[in-house]
């Protein structure tokens, strides 16, 4: 619980849009590329989901600093902060 609380204070969930046309040839699979991009910006961040058709990208939880770093990675289109929807 304490870890969760700490995590909540430090990290936000982002939906990360990636530009698949920027994937370096050294990667055979875009998942690998997403994972590598995330790792180089945020060592310990976990992927929540990878998205393959509805968007190209993934969702993850990042600190502000990590988010800025990932945003500046080649191939990152944008980071959209998660929002909460409600039942109507």
């Amino acid at each position: 619980k304490a870890e969760n609380k700490h995590d909540q204070l430090e990290r936000r969930t982002y939906i990360v849009h990636m530009d698949k046309s920027h994937m370096p040839a050294s990667f055979e699979d875009h998942h690998e590329w997403y994972y590598s991009s995330l790792r180089s910006a945020a060592d310990s961040a976990q992927m929540l989901y990878t998205y393959n058709s509805v968007i190209h990208g993934f969702s993850t939880r990042l600190t502000d600093e990590e988010a800025t770093s990932l945003e500046n990675q080649p191939g990152t289109l944008s980071l959209v902060p998660e929002t909460r929807y409600e039942l109507h």
Partner: protein
Amino acid sequence: TTRTPAFLGLGINDKLLPTSTSQGDVIIGLIDTGVWPELKSFDDMGLDPVPSSWKGECEEGTNFKSSNCNRKLIGARFFCKGYEAILGPIDESTESKSPRDDDGHGTHTATTAAGSATTSANLFGYASGTARGMAPHARIAAYKACWLGGCFTSDILAAMEKAIDERVDILSMSIGGSISEYYRDTVAVGAFTAMKKGILVSCSAGNAGPDSGSLSNLAPWITTVGAGTIDRDFPAYVILGDGRNFTGASLYSGKPLPSKLLSLTYAGKASNMTSGSFCMTGSLNSEDVKGKIVVCDRGGNSRVQKGLVVRKAGGVGMILANTEAYGEELVADAHLIPAASLGLKGAEDIKKYISSGRKPTATIGFSGTELGVQPSPVVASFSSRGPNPLTPEILKPDLIAPGVNILAGWTGKVGPTGLDGDTRHVSFNIISGTSMSCPHLSGLAALVKASHPEWSPAAIKSALMTTAYTAYKNGKTIIDVATGLPSTPFDYGAGHVDPIAALDPGLVYDATVKDYVDFLCALNYSSDQIKHTTAEEYSCSSSKTYKLGDLNYPSFAVTLETTPENQDRKAMSTMKYTRTLTNVGRPATYKASVSTHTASLKVIVEPESLSFNTINEKKSFTVTVSADSMPSGTSSFAHLTWSDGKHTVTSPIAFTW
């Protein structure tokens, strides 16, 4: 649902309706709170095997087995990684980490869209009849992305992706969030991919009415659904000590009040808190309410919660008083104490009576279900209204459908009020919201899809919109219950859905992926923003002029020049729109007509007549609007109708200055 199929004219033997076999080929995916599979509404008796196109499955989890799926409920999944990342691991003693619905909302929407016919459905005897979904032979796939703590966009997007990959035909989403540009709007982005793959996405318009510009789910590739009433009420009576009698609404079913009149008080006078009139938890003074009927103002907390607050303080009955924001709209609830909701006028009269200081007394009586209520439909007060706050050039909502006091399936986990203390178990519940109108539309879209499997989502949407009605049989415009006055396209969009007419619209305003990309170009989106929205590479041509109003949409929203402040001189502005109609009926000649009530507006349609000789033939026309400038905030309305004598293809035109 009970009553709404009849209200919508869905007779069993209508020859236009698709067969059960063709309905069975249509799969409706719902992104919601999950599903309660044991209900009779998910019985698969008589259904053919699952369509071979279906790629989905029934995911197991807490109290949910793959055997819970059948030929009706063909898919069930859950998405909670985003939710758990924020709120921590799901407590499985209170919430099912599975597709099982712990809330009721998802079961209600799923059964509304495509529940199997179930006889003797009712809630405590109210709204009894045979309950069925709008497309009773269509299949259901439930994607649970909404939890007790809300619905998070990472989960919603994952659910949308799965639904698309598994090949649903219709995606029904009775949820909404804050407004943002389309490329940052998760549902809009997901819906774009769905549209590209031929999936119609139907979303609720929101419950933020009657404020103007209060809509959500605004993307033009989404069908945005507002809510109206049906011809059914659940009357309750408030009788005052001075003999006056007020009609309200209630679904109360417990022990009645004693036959004598009881003391009556206003919560605002029985509380020391500034917001005491709302009967918030712990706000009432026991000595002021003990043994009395308490008038509580609507708003602030849930309507049924107020009854519990009154009971806890020693009160015996509750009158839920509408304030200005709710007008005369009566929403019936399965209260836990004798309680009735009252419209604004009645509520004000009762408050005056209480203030008169003559030992006010009252009683509340309940009289079951009343059918044939007129006028109906009326636009629900809560239904979110236009104009479109993001892109005023696109008229939203698209249309309205039944969304008030709707009986449909319910979870076995919580009682009909959803309150912790409500231990009643029901198979059906009666609730209201654009959440309820959205799955009505989704089911009706499934019927159109079953009849015309080759139609695009835009063509299906057009058929539903251009055949919608805006007036009662006596010719008078549909009323807005918030004001008691005739409503406008900002309230009802193209009008109230008429499914039988939608099965044979004659002509449709179709739109392709390219048309929507052109729309994004007209928004001046950068190539990256377009890539965000569409998940593909598209580019706008530097040599082409893109206009928002030229999207081949089944309605028009015209934004005009305003009169500068302190100037009397009115300038004339002219706008031109191009649209293309596709013939989906027999060869025919259609003539255009425009109805407008404002002399200062001129609408010219060219050509005035269009002849179609073959199926899928396309013909374009222009609409030129000329209008004097008016003060900012002015609005006016008209309708453009194409008719061949058999079909009427009608588009609303909203003008704003």
